[in-house]
Symmetry: C2
Subunit: 271 residues, 2 copies
């Protein structure tokens, strides 16, 4: 998917909501456990109920890998379902990968070709030659970790490197990499006050913003400091939406939570 | 497996060789492609031919994920085969994971429980709360990326942070994390001259050293600067061993390459 197609979809749906499909079998409605594939059954119900309210889905691969082969199969079914039923929706494999050149190429193939995701999250620690193999794929997007939403972000990311915080070095240096137009960045909503500075460095890039809701981030602040003239934001909510109810009505309850966020986003887009 | 058991195995086998099982279907003997599971067939033959010469195997998960469900199944069969036939061998899931707390716990379960690996490689960028969930597992080992063997290591890892290179900050700060005794570190052989400094910070930790052979690192330098009184080294070779031949004799050829490295290691252990 091109960035332009993503922007068009945001304008049409009046939403820049991304829903995180982080499925934990201990948190889904117990009656689903009788299904052949409870993870996919859960995802399908969530997607069917929310696809008109969001522009992206983001399965975190850890939750699938934790269930071994069954989990991997559920991930495959989920992305295939999305690509068949809702090809207009932007898909993110939240995998946080990063390895040396030839290995990164294998990861890129796994997520962009085998599973046909539109994008994948990647860690920057190993530098240019660990990220460029992902950037080589046309109309695929590499979402680089910059400033994450967790407390541990302050251990290294905000430390000063050659006069500038490490996450700013990541933003700055990555701009010079080949095909850097295919880069997006993860910036946590819990650190919205950093967004003004970030926009100085990367005015045009899309940002994937986790941490609104359960982790305490504020949507209005994110928009105030992070939105650009092409919107440039995908705001993610996972637990706050998908675990709104553990009863039969879980999908409707998720849609209601998604609707609340979509309406707040519509206000921000109108402003 | 305890660190002490690993040290005993090294002394017994006179080897601290780790063999990287990075299986690429384009590089294995073509006749294996007729097998039901060519990846596992290749790994089994390599393991059968080399297990007496090495103390660890390290599948890089990217190579398995790239083949989707089939790849994941091959990884599962490989680790199960190792745990059943050679429980004395140290197993490393080279996955370079790292995510926020609850997600890291899912990854830890995937690799330590579901797949029953002894260790997993983890990226430090997201800090303490992304790594501690891995450290909570008794007699399991978390191998943190410190200074990697690729060129991109110079993009961020060697940059100066508060007066000290980032990779040294990673070593220093990670020592204070809970259960840090379960930490090992990745240090590339291509940067052997950095090992003396590294040993000042972490004199006792085990180091996983990739980059000997194909990537140009030198075993003698690694031992000179990196070995401690409990050896403290696992030196990895992947392509240099497993792709020694593409003919029927690939397993014997791999064993010959492994034997050369084991003999060099025996010399270093005797010195």
């Amino acid at each position: 998917m091109t960035t332009n197609q993503l922007v068009q979809q945001i304008k049409k749906k009046k939403s820049f909501l991304c829903i995180g499909l982080d499925v934990d079998l201990n948190k889904i409605p117990p009656y689903l456990l009788k299904e052949d594939d409870p993870i996919f059954a859960f995802n399908k119900a969530i997607i069917d109920a929310t696809h008109h309210l969001c522009v992206a889905y983001k399965p975190n691969t850890a939750f699938y890998e934790a269930y071994g082969l069954k989990g991997w199969k559920a991930l495959e079914k989920t992305i295939n379902y999305l690509n068949e039923k809702h090809p207009e929706i932007f898909t993110i494999a939240d995998a946080k990968r990063g390895d040396i050149g030839n290995t990164s190429t294998m990861y890129a193939k796994a997520f962009f070709e085998d599973l046909a995701f539109d994008s994948v999250t990647v860690a920057p620690y190993m530098g240019k030659d660990s990220v460029e193999p992902f950037l080589a794929f046309e109309n695929k997007h590499t979402i680089l970790l910059a400033l994450t939403s967790n407390q541990g972000a302050f251990d290294f990311q905000t430390k000063t490197v050659d006069g500038k915080e490490l996450y700013k070095q990541v933003l700055e240096i990555s701009k010079s990499w080949e095909n850097s137009k295919n880069l997006m960045y993860v910036v946590g909503a819990t650190k919205a006050e950093f967004l003004a500075d970030i926009r100085q460095i990367i005015p045009d890039s899309f940002l994937l913003v986790p941490g609104v809701g359960a982790q305490g981030g504020n949507l209005q602040d994110v928009c105030k400091y992070g939105m650009n003239d092409q919107i440039g934001l995908l705001v993610n909510s996972s637990r706050g939406i998908i675990y709104a109810s553990q009863e039969d009505d879980f999908a409707e309850a998720a849609a209601m939570k998604a609707k609340v966020l979509q309406q707040q986003m519509e206000v921000e887009l109108t402003n």
